[in-house]
């Protein structure tokens, strides 16, 4: 039996604010109110100073491509139907990294260091996936 649906995240109590925000079109990350550091992915306390006083802050959604690849083979049947697609490690301007697809962009124009901004891809009624697209000046 093949899986024809996309691999979907399942939120925990800790990560639910991230996914709820994404559904509203906002990218949020954890910020430590004690030592001022940001962290991603979510943890129950600050890994730097052990403070449990973490708040969710909204990222301005911009960053640059740390590195990337173009997939010619999908990770599952659902993604196989969507090749070629780009997977990139994004470094947000707030200093944390996350994985995403580069969407709505010309694949040949993706490069390391390229500027990107967040967009959201609705997967289900409840889940929207943060994605990134190349900023317009690069695609011009």
């Amino acid at each position: 039996m093949t899986i024809e649906t996309r691999a979907l995240p399942v939120a925990t109590d800790l990560t639910r604010p991230f996914w709820l925000a994404a559904k509203e079109g906002k990218l949020v990350i954890q910020h430590c109110t004690s030592c001022n550091r940001n962290q991603f992915f979510p943890r129950p306390f600050c890994l730097q100073c052990l403070s449990p006083e973490l708040e969710w802050i909204q990222s301005n959604g911009t960053g640059s491509i740390y590195t990337f690849t173009i997939n010619r083979r999908g990770s599952d049947p659902y993604m196989n139907a969507r090749v070629p697609y780009a997977v990139a490690m994004i470094e947000l301007d707030e200093g944390v990294r996350l994985l995403a697809n580069i969407v709505d962009s010309v694949l040949e124009q993706i490069q390391i260091g390229g500027r990107v901004h967040v967009t959201f891809e609705a997967l289900t009624e409840h889940i929207s996936l943060p994605q990134f697209r190349l900023t317009s000046e690069q695609t011009a």
Partner: protein, 385 residues
């Protein structure tokens, strides 16, 4: 590791199971077969074994194997940290033997990934609530392929490394495989063949990526005192080190081209009391061509960024200035999901001067380097005779 433990144990038995495509056997049966052959090699019996270290796709592999062979060990370890797991088991066995928890350790691996088609290209993100399940799996990242493709892109961007240089690694591996009767892929392979093979995740082509085969292996370790009276020349563990960074979500790894290989290499060489110039045999886990280039740099055999030049002109191939991965490696010999066992076995064959047409002229000290998962863990081991 405590330098007093240098040469405290030796590999006294070593054997592969059947390799390549073995459709009629289970992973457990491959381990049992390799164990039988390793025991024959050593002259020891099942009754001598009191420590069992194993891993397969089963999380309780050491219990499974012990039940199957009716071994009642005093110590067991089924730790799975990816491809390097059997190197880790050797280090743990040294500690266990030193602590008196066991005296003869059996270390095995077996996999039928080819025959049973169990290789998951998408990686093992079974729990959709895990960090990788939430923040990696939805993006269709191939794992581990995608992460090493990303590292290759970074290497190319930073240092100007080329796909042709990556292909050199695959071509050298194939030339070694042609000297190995047990190799799975032996047909001629050129740089152009690698470059013209289908891209899987840019810039990695099919031939930049290791094989998927069935295979298993076993080694038997015991104290240096006991090793002296056994059938085969002891292969001593001179130095060994391991390090850990992450699981399948390397978001917090600052530099993907600096993955703590240097630390394990230095630590293992310090324990062994050897320098790079002393090493005759180098076995580097070649899951991907980029992995070899990156490891050569991080191990200190060439400068950072010079790995592409270092491997060019057939330098890694038979007759080259820096021959490595003499079995043909994971790229052309066999790669049963986790290559660590076969990497160790090839070092043993070289040190025991039983490698046939691929035997290196001088083989007294060997370096084995293996990572686990997606540059998540590292192990370096120095063996000597």
């Amino acid at each position: 590791m405590n330098p007093l433990l240098k040469n405290s144990v030796a590999i006294v038995g070593a054997a592969e199971s059947d390799l390549g495509k073995v459709p009629g056997m289970s992973a457990l049966e491959l381990q049992a077969q390799a164990t039988y052959r390793a025991l024959q090699d050593s002259g020891l019996t099942l009754k001598d074994i009191d420590g069992v270290f194993a891993h397969t796709d089963d999380k309780m592999a050491a219990m499974l194997l012990s039940e199957y062979l009716n071994i009642k060990p005093r110590y067991m370890d089924s730790t799975n940290v990816g491809g390097m797991s059997n190197v880790l088991h050797i280090r743990h066995a040294i500690a266990a033997i030193a602590a008196g928890m066991c005296s003869v350790a059996l270390i095995t691996y077996g996999s039928t990934q080819l025959s049973s088609s169990t290789r998951k290209v998408g990686g093992a993100f079974d729990d959709p609530r895990s960090p990788a399940g939430q923040f990696v799996a939805p993006y269709g990242q191939l794992s581990p392929i995608g992460y090493y493709a990303m590292a290759a892109n970074l290497h190319m961007h930073r240092y100007g490394t080329t796909s042709t240089q990556l292909a050199e690694v695959a071509v050298a591996a194939r030339k070694w495989a042609q000297l190995n009767p047990l190799a799975y892929k032996k047909e001629p392979l050129s740089i152009d063949d690698v470059l013209n093979s289908p891209l899987i995740a840019d810039p990695l082509h099919t031939r930049d990526i290791c094989l998927v085969t069935d295979a298993g292996g076993a080694i038997i370790l015991t104290t240096k005192e006991r090793a002296k009276d056994l059938r085969r020349p002891p292969v001593y563990v001179m130095g060994i080190a391991e390090s850990f960074s992450h699981h399948y979500t390397p978001f917090n790894v600052e530099d993907w081209l600096d993955t703590s290989v240097a630390e394990t290499a230095q630590s293992a060489m310090d324990m062994a009391g050897v320098s790079r110039q002393d090493i005759d045999v180098v076995q580097i886990y070649d899951h991907f061509t980029i992995g070899v280039i990156q490891a050569l740099e991080e191990l200190g055999f060439c400068k950072r960024g010079e790995g592409g030049d270092f491997v060019s002109g057939g330098r890694l191939a038979p007759g080259g200035a820096f021959p490595i991965n003499t079995s043909g490696g994971g790229l052309s010999y066999n790669h049963p999901g986790m290559f660590g066992m076969l990497l160790i076995l090839e070092a043993v064959h070289q040190l025991r001067a039983e490698a046939g047409a691929r035997q290196l002229s001088k083989a007294e000290i060997a370096l084995v380097h293996a990572p686990g998962l997606v540059f998540s863990a590292n192990s370096t081991m120095i063996l000597g005779v």
